[in-house]
């Protein structure tokens, strides 16, 4: 048998959803479910190998071709970009990028340059660039909601799922930036050199979404 197709999954929720999907397709994912601390796990009957990685790393591994495919959120894809094929919208992991401010704050008023706190500087820059707006972008690693509360920033660009965290901290969404969901991506050469196998897998996945 050929070398297994290596698929990188974003650890956490997307991983669980993807494993659920793979099981729905009839693959035996016992090894992935009982992974312990292992990071590379076989899915024997599918001739697959699952690699567990952080979202950004999924893209890096797929770009370099050390993983043939990957499951990663559109949020990471928008922030990192890169050269790979974005084949399928898996439909799970749904949320959105949104611009949020303190409740009642008139973000677009005045001529002063606005400061944005975000974990996603590229997404933010592109969003305001399209509006022809100069902004100052500050990269924050942890809870971005803090920045407007501490008055470091006028607004935040962040992932919003239910909006509860925002509400509890007195913030509100004033504009949606982009919808987000999990995507199936593939290395550009793997898709060509292992066309039949990857195509089969994609068809199976699309039938079961």
């Amino acid at each position: 048998m050929n070398k297994p197709i290596r698929i990188a999954l974003t650890k956490g929720r997307l991983e669980k959803d993807t494993v659920g999907l793979l099981e729905k397709l009839g693959f035996d994912c016992t090894a992935v479910r009982e992974k312990g601390r292992k990071l590379i796990l076989p899915v024997p009957d599918g001739n697959l190998e699952v690699v567990l990685a952080k979202a950004n790393d999924v893209i890096t591994y797929v770009e370099h071709g050390v993983c043939d495919m990957g499951v990663v959120g559109k949020d990471t894809i928008m922030e990192m970009e890169g050269k790979f094929y974005e084949l399928v919208d898996l439909g799970f992991g749904k949320c959105k990028f949104a611009l949020a401010t303190k409740k009642g704050y008139d973000f677009y008023s005045g001529y002063g340059i606005k400061t944005i706190a975000t974990k996603y500087p590229n997404v933010s820059r592109r969003f305001f660039e399209k509006k022809g707006m100069d902004t100052e972008i500050i990269k924050i690693e942890g809870s971005v909601e803090l920045a407007p509360l501490l008055e470091l920033a006028d607004g935040i660009v962040d992932i919003v799922e239910t909006g509860t965290t925002l509400k509890e901290n007195g913030l509100e969404v004033i504009e949606d930036v982009a919808p987000i969901s999990a995507r199936l991506i593939a290395n550009t050469v793997s898709l060509k050199l292992r066309h039949a196998e990857i195509d089969n897998l994609i068809q199976l996945i699309e039938e079961n979404l």
Partner: protein, 398 residues
Amino acid sequence: MRNYDLITPEGTKDLLFGECIVRRDIEKSLFELFKSRGYSEMITPGLEFFDVFNLNSSYFPQENLYKLTDSKGRLLVMRPDSTMPIARVVATRLRDAMLPLKLCYNQTVYRTEPALKGRSDEIVQAGIELIGSDLKIADLEVISTAVESLRSFDMEFSLEIGNIGIFKELVDRLEVSDNVKEKIRQNIEGKNFPALNDLLDSLGASPVTAALKKLPALFGGIEVFDKAEELMPDENIRHILEELREIYLDAAEICGDAGAITVDLGLVNKTDYYTGLIIKGYLQGHGEEVISGGRYDRLISEFGYDVPAVGFAINVNAVSKVIEKSGVLPAIPRTDVLVYAEKDCEVAALKAAQELREQGLIVENALFDDLTSARAYAMENKIAKVIVIDERNKEVQE
């Protein structure tokens, strides 16, 4: 201030010994291959005026160029590509040369890549340019050279062809802004089916949008052509497809292994100055293409000389990497004899060493003033023979 005197800039590296041999071997075998097909070498400057790469259609985004200024303050770039400088030379010094011209090169190009991604900013490219013919035989000549190049690496390979004309004709039939066209192109290039479908659905259903939707899925073997034919909305585009099918069939025959030739109608890269045929070459075990090329019939006319051309470049660094990874590293040539000179016998030793070299041996002169060190050096470097030259005669030791 920090000192950077012990490291090399990001995206560059030093190559040592075996790594150099791998690279030089590739360069040599490609060069011999090109020469055996009648290509003549060109070397263009590492520095060019920015303007050469900033034509009406700017193929290289300025943020990807290494820039500097000359003594008059004019903007220069480190060459990001070899085809455009060659187009410049063809349009100037070679303007009166008899066509077709068959040119080849092997030189470094420089592009800034995002940091910390494991990419090189300095890439050696070996390639060919065939200038002055728009005949099918010219496309086949280039494809056949690409196949032979891939074959010379002695690894599983695949050569992919496409024709950007199909995409260009299709989008030109849409009445949308250049911005939307660019978005369509991006989504086809990235085989981003969800976004492409959404975008095209918003433009309304038509045979053109239906064909564009399917374009990124039209890749694989000969079966692609039948699928594509039904989708092409008119005779013009079907004609381009038909020509590509003929080239595909000929290429499969040239290659002798139909499985190694594939087609992708969704090859629509942005930086491409390509107008027709597109060529990509892949090696098993490398995540990016190692060959990239195609037909660029309008590029040279941007330098004022209207002449068709077709060519490709091989990423020599990528090929070296694959070969190094596969573990079959070439042996570093080993010294056969070490010649040790006793005091005041240096000239005699140098002469003796030279005589041995003339017999075809690799000979080093020992650079020590005691025999023990010379022997230790021979041992460490696995030199089989040490010859000692003293006043009277030669003493041979194994």
